[in-house]
């Protein structure tokens, strides 16, 4: 599975999410964007063919994990709770 595009009316900014298919917070973020009719793309990293893994061979392109800071969860909209 690779990048999935979700259509929406709001296309002001390009939104790309690196997510886990199993994660509750990732699902909430996807739902938030959908509720706000925002166009976005996402990649479920755990299901991706570019999934980082020791079991894959060295030719596999590395997943851009460096994009994620070690201290923060990948960004999620704070306003979600105040809706």
């Amino acid at each position: 599975m690779n990048t999935v595009k979700v259509e929406g009316k709001n296309k002001k900014n390009k939104v790309f999410l690196y997510t886990l298919s199993t994660c509750g917070w990732c699902k909430m973020t996807k739902q938030y964007l959908k509720d706000n009719d925002t166009a976005y793309e996402y990649l479920d990293v755990d299901r991706s063919s570019r999934r980082p893994s020791r079991t894959l061979n060295a030719e596999t392109p590395p997943w851009p994990s460096r994009l994620l800071s070690s201290t923060t969860r990948p960004s999620y909209p704070d306003s979600r709770r105040t809706q």
Partner: protein, 180 residues
Amino acid sequence: MTTLDEVKRKAEQDAKSRGMYLTPDESLLKNLLEGLKENEDRYGYSSCPCRIASGAFDLDRDIICPCDYRDPDVAEYGTCYCCLYVDQEAHEGKKEAKPIPERRPTDKQMRGLGMEEPEPKETTPKGSINATDRILFYCKQCGYVVFRDEPPYMCPICRAKREMFQEIVTTQGYYTRNLT
């Protein structure tokens, strides 16, 4: 194949025995339990739904739910990393469940992603316990002893609070002398 009910029952039992609760947010709870089930089916163990698993048991051992970071996270923030387990205040809605910082050390994350070399093999003599980072704690109320980085959230035996745990002072020499 495990069922969703089994996953839920296991989590509920664990929360109860440790003085914790499952998240009061119904939809989040459902998503997290489904994520746990998915990981159990995919990897053969219930790896944290909000962290990426390597698929290698040894590298994921610390993030198998309930993860090694749950107790200190619930004690400090009132919820664990994925928010499956919460404390009483969050359970009663007095405190909002929010995302919290990742406690898992970066080197462990990187090792799981295959971006760092595997941990060097322990050089301690066979049969001895490496006591350099983990410490013994005992419950002052009932005497229950744990060997881990921090005391548990609550004593699983007598339900005494975290504050009732006291460090047992030992030295590395003790282990090598008596446990080999």
